[in-house]
């Protein structure tokens, strides 16, 4: 190993290069290190060290070659990169990557001299200080200087200190034995057995790791399936943020989900309070809380309208069935009142009149808003179609886009006004009704939307086979075996 002596300075760098990819395979595995080093490890490491030395030598050779060539600028295919890069490049082109050679498929018996005796003694040696002295003594020679660096490299891998010392002393002792001792046949057999054992253990570890990977893969596939199913059922409102979801939309989805959770809790509270016939004072507190919670929703929606109005207005955040009834980014107040009126009996005549006029006012306001939105649509369409759609009119394109952008910004105003309408409707209901009636009213509203969400889930999970409609089962909702059509023949 004469080459190693010539440039001992490089040896400081090379282990770092090699350590990066050379050692991780051996050291980074999850195998129990104790076993490894105590029994098979010693011989395995000895061969490892051999191979490493080999590679170090070749690397240095090519490095030197690269250095000289870079200096002379003689070779056309070597451009003035930094030396390390050239070295690696040269190495890569000159021979297969060092990693492949570091773990030779056969034990490098030809280079090996018997160290069994010394290994055994090394194993049995307890004192770390003596081994340290040993390795220090050997470090004087260049050959072992590199070895010590290699051993030092082992230090960087998180192993137990004792094992590191053992390795070091094994390295040191094994190198002294390298020069010309004849292999003892019994020791050969023993070493072969140890190698087989090491290989077997390595195979078992690999198998265990692969099994772990497989099970993780299965778990992952299953989780993805679950998410898909949940999303289709509208449980994940609006789905997980996709490529096209803006951050404002994603944030609103998240906040809405939280709001919905809190809302369901409040509805349950209302239900419980009505059931136990809580005194009006306590009931009022709960009802006030529910109303405030609705105000919170409208505040969230107003914020979302400013950041992503399309997200609100297309109703991606709502469940499919709710989306079906969507009007300007939410429920239509007059429709809600129409639904609620029969549920709120008994009502005084004054209250009935109040609710009816509220419904009418809301209807007029809704109509006005719808008309305004219609005008916006028309104006936008005119702008988009401005000039000629057929002839090439890219001169005015940006101008038209700018105009259209300005008009689009009005969309926010409509959603916000519609939400204002919803909020006012709820507040007016609260004013018209008594505490108990208001509690029942909010309960009804909550339950109604709950049912719409449940309908969305059921719809998403209905059986999709196309079968002949079974007329005899009108209206029965037996999902498992009935064809899809019969479930809805009642409508």
């Amino acid at each position: 190993m004469g080459e190693t002596s010539s440039s001992s300075s490089h040896s400081r760098q090379d282990p770092c290069v090699l350590g990066g990819y050379g050692f991780h395979g051996a050291m980074g595995s999850s195998a129990p290190p104790a076993n490894f080093f105590d029994h098979e490890g010693t011989t395995y490491l000895g061969e490892l060290e051999e191979a490493l030395m080999h590679q170090v030598a070749t690397l240095r050779r090519t490095q030197q070659a690269a250095t000289t060539s870079t200096a002379h600028h003689g070779h056309g295919d070597i451009t003035p990169f930094p030396i390390a890069a050239t070295a690696t490049a040269a190495t890569a082109t000159a021979r297969p990557p060092p990693t492949l050679d570091i773990f030779p498929s056969w034990p490098m018996r030809s280079l090996h001299t018997p160290k069994e005796g010394s290994n055994v003694t090394a194993d049995s040696t307890d004192s770390e200080s003596s081994s340290k002295n040993n390795s220090d003594h050997k470090a004087s020679s260049d050959q072992l200087g590199a070895t010590a660096n290699m051993a030092g490299q082992f230090d960087q891998v998180p192993q137990q200190q004792q094992q590191q010392d053992k390795v070091r002393q094994n390295m040191a002792t094994s190198s002294t034995q390298r020069t010309g001792k004849i292999l003892d046949p019994k020791q050969i057999v023993r070493r072969l057995a140890q190698n087989r054992e090491a290989a077997r253990k390595s195979r078992l570890r690999k198998k265990a790791y692969i099994q772990q990977l497989e099970s993780s893969k299965l778990k992952l596939a299953q989780m993805e399936q679950d998410i898909q199913r949940a999303r289709s059922q509208g449980l994940l409102l609006g789905g997980a943020p996709g490529v096209n979801t803006s951050s404002g939309a994603a944030m609103f989805d998240m906040e809405y989900a939280r709001w919905l959770d809190n809302h369901c809790r409040r509805i349950a509270e209302l239900h419980g309070a009505l059931h136990v016939h809580l005194p009006d004072g306590d009931l009022r507190a709960i009802v006030d809380d529910t109303l405030t919670h609705y105000d919170e929703l409208f505040r969230l929606k107003a914020m979302a309208a400013k950041s992503d109005v399309f997200h609100l207005i297309t109703g991606v955040w709502a469940s499919p069935a709710e989306r079906c009834f969507l009007w300007m980014g939410g429920f239509r107040p007059s429709d809600l009142l129409k639904t609620l009126l029969p549920q709120l009996d008994p009502l005084t005549e004054q209250q009935v009149v109040g609710i009816c006029s509220l419904q009418q006012s809301s209807q007029q306001a809704e109509e006005a808003l719808s008309q305004g939105l219609e005008q916006l649509h028309q104006s936008l369409a005119d702008t988009m179609a401005g000039g000629s759609l057929i002839e090439d009119a890219n001169m005015s394109f940006m101008g038209q886009m700018a105009l259209a952008l300005g008009k689009l910004s009005n969309l926010e105003g409509f959603v916000i006004q519609a939400d204002n309408l919803r909020q006012q409707t709820l507040h007016q209901i609260y004013r018209i009704l008594t505490v108990r009636q208001a509690a029942r009213c909010f309960l009804a509203i909550g339950e109604y939307h709950n049912r719409l969400r449940a309908l969305s889930s059921l719809w998403a999970s209905r059986p999709r086979e196309v079968l002949v409609a079974d007329e005899g089962n009108c209206g029965e909702l037996s999902i498992a075996s009935q064809p899809a059509q019969s479930q809805f023949s009642a409508f």
């Binding site: 509220l358 306001a365 109509e367 009005n410 006004q417 007016q428």
Partner: protein, 103 residues
Amino acid sequence: MDRVTRYASQRAVVIFSRSSCCMCHTVTRLFRELGVNPMVVELDEDPQGNEMEKALARLLGRSPGVPAVFIGSRLVGSTDKVMSLHLGGSLVPMLRNAGALWV
């Protein structure tokens, strides 16, 4: 500002608007639905429209200054105020008081 007040006192219901503003169209539409015949001042067709809008914006405390609704020469507010009043049931009495409605 004087121009604004002058306009506002001309009729029972005066709506300051812009012809391109869709929300103004909404408000005007609502009053017409109620049977009112509001006077609509299109600021983009008035030579001093921009100043008037600035004055209205200051009055309303927000920008843009349209739509701005005056009932009985008094400023009522913008869209949300009008809608809230209507749902609360107080818009129609106000209109009646101002003589804009005879129903």
